[in-house]
């Protein structure tokens, strides 16, 4: 039986007395494209911090391709590519230097890293930016560089935490399209956190996270059918305002 790309069971997390995540259960299979939809403060970033082991989960378990993030972080993290909510590329370094740094953090040689990066940049018609300083790039280009960087070590699970924040409409479309293509071509499991309803793909999965709880976790079509909502916005209201 094929293992889940991501399996989260009975996950809880508190900051002091504040309960941020409450009994989260969800799983993603290879090739799944899932949107994690929630308002600001819903717990999306905390959930990503736990999946990427910025800090350990207090209760419950997180497994990435059957590797527990707490007990086997090296193998679990090697399978993850992440794009964080805040830009994490170094503005003073060139795109190439940023990519090289990331590659080294995954134990990759310079040549292998650059080969992967160049082919990925070519797919996005961005190979001419390799020698440019990140500071010289537009917001959309920077975000796409972060996606290229997240894919350099060939992860099987891609986590994107509000990757289109601060990006213009055109770049947003490009990013969404690119990630969907990756998902279908490379059979990547994608978990995309957002608070923007128009980023939800009607063909994909939708997870609604509200005040630390998963209120819905199903195909978009099933959610719309179940809630008898005309659109995702109404479905979101149905779950969060009842």
């Amino acid at each position: 039986m094929e293992s889940s790309a991501l399996s989260i069971k009975k996950l809880n997390h508190n900051f002091g007395d504040l309960k941020v995540l409450n009994n989260i259960n969800l799983s993603l299979k290879k090739g799944d494209y899932s949107i994690l939809l929630g308002l600001n403060g819903a717990g999306k970033t905390t959930l990503f911090s736990l999946i990427t082991r910025l800090y350990d989960n207090q209760t419950g378990s997180i497994d990435i391709f059957s590797k527990n993030i707490k007990n086997n972080p090296t193998q679990a993290l090697a399978n993850i590519g992440v794009v964080f909510q805040q830009p994490t590329v170094d503005l003073d370094l060139t795109v190439e230097q940023n990519l090289q740094y990331h590659a080294s953090l995954h134990g990759m040689t310079k040549n292998l890293a650059l080969n992967n990066a160049i082919s990925e940049l070519k797919r996005q018609n961005m190979e001419n930016i390799l020698k440019k300083k990140v500071r010289e790039l537009s917001g959309g280009q920077r975000r796409r560089v972060e996606i290229v960087r997240a894919l350099m070590h060939n992860p099987k699970l891609l986590l994107l935490d509000e990757p289109t924040v601060g990006v213009d409409i055109e770049s947003r479309k490009l990013i969404v399209k690119h990630v969907k293509t990756l998902c279908s071509e490379k059979k990547l499991a994608v978990l995309w956190a957002t608070h923007l309803i128009d980023e939800v793909d009607e063909k994909g999965k939708l997870i609604i996270l509200h005040k630390g709880k998963v209120l819905a976790n199903d195909n978009v079509k099933s959610i719309l059918k179940k809630t008898k909502a005309k659109n995702i916005s109404n479905a979101f209201d149905y779950y969060t305002k009842k």
Binding site: S49, Y55, P73, A78, D92, H106
Partner: protein, 273 residues
């Protein structure tokens, strides 16, 4: 992960720190200005009535080849340690900044063990501070601060150890600081007391003549021993007591820093990043 991949990761972290150092030349020059102001103004001003002489009855506590040394020569070791102290704290400042701005996450989500990543970052920071020290020593030649030639070599291990100790302290503090604004507190409660309550500006036996309490405080200050380790090493000598104390504090601060960034127990888990 095999040893070669560990090497690649270490090399990548050091390379990135070197690049940042190269691109942020203002940081390099401002780090040099501070000790040079002390040397060119403070020490020269005090030179006329402050020379430091060999302490009576303590023949082992004097690395200099002459019995009376001009004040600027005496404080050179303290100023070198000051560069490392500020560099260690600067690194911690950049880690707080990196954490707030997000780029620290790139490092922390690497599949390599976090302790390895932190030690690599520490070594990268210390390498930069050693370059700063040598730039300072080159300029200090204009003030006749000329340790023996081999002193430039023997001081390197001392600089590495003291830099690691101060960097590890900075790293631990960065894990405990919630926001960048709190860094001013580090200046007031860590840097200034550490620097002034040490043998950087005045010898311990002189302090003892004024205050026994302050003397004991200075004696247990790890920064004092970083200064003394560097002072002796600059003249090709080993201050064993300082070596031992600096090594012990290095281990303590390093363990605290690793604890601070531990994803399950550390201070990093107490706040949202």
């Amino acid at each position: 992960m095999n040893i070669f991949q560990y090497y690649l990761c270490f090399k990548g972290i050091v390379y990135r720190e070197s690049l940042r150092f190269f691109y942020q030349r203002e940081r390099f020059f401002s780090a040099l200005v501070r000790p040079l102001v002390w040397l060119a103004i403070f020490a020269v001003g005090f030179r006329s009535f402050l020379g430091v002489s060999r302490p009576l009855g303590q023949p082992d506590n004097w690395p200099y080849p002459i019995s009376l040394v001009p004040y600027e020569l005496y404080i050179a070791a303290g100023l070198i340690a000051m560069i490392q102290l500020f560099n260690g704290m600067q690194s911690s400042l950049s880690m707080v900044y990196d954490r707030e701005m997000g780029s620290m996450r790139t490092l922390l989500v690497s599949p390599f063990p976090r302790s390895f990543l932190l030690v690599s970052k520490l070594i990268a920071g210390v390498s930069v501070s050693i370059l700063q020290v040598f730039a300072f020593l080159a300029i200090a030649l204009f003030w006749d601060i000329e340790p023996p030639v081999w002193g430039y070599l023997t001081v390197i291990p001392a600089l590495f150890l003291s830099g690691m100790m101060l960097g590890a302290l900075g790293m631990f503090l960065s894990s405990a600081i919630k926001q960048l604004e709190n860094f001013a507190g580090v200046m007031n409660f860590v840097i200034f007391p550490m620097f002034f309550a040490s043998s950087a500006l005045y010898p311990l036996w002189k302090i003892r003549e004024s205050s026994e309490v302050l003397f004991y405080f200075c004696s247990y200050n790890p920064f004092t021993h970083a200064v003394e380790l560097i002072r002796f090493a600059l003249y090709g000598q080993l201050n064993e007591k300082s070596l031992l104390i600096v090594s012990i504090f290095l281990i303590i601060f390093l363990m605290l820093a690793i604890y601070g960034y531990d994803p399950s127990k550390g201070l990093i888990t107490k706040k949202k990043i």
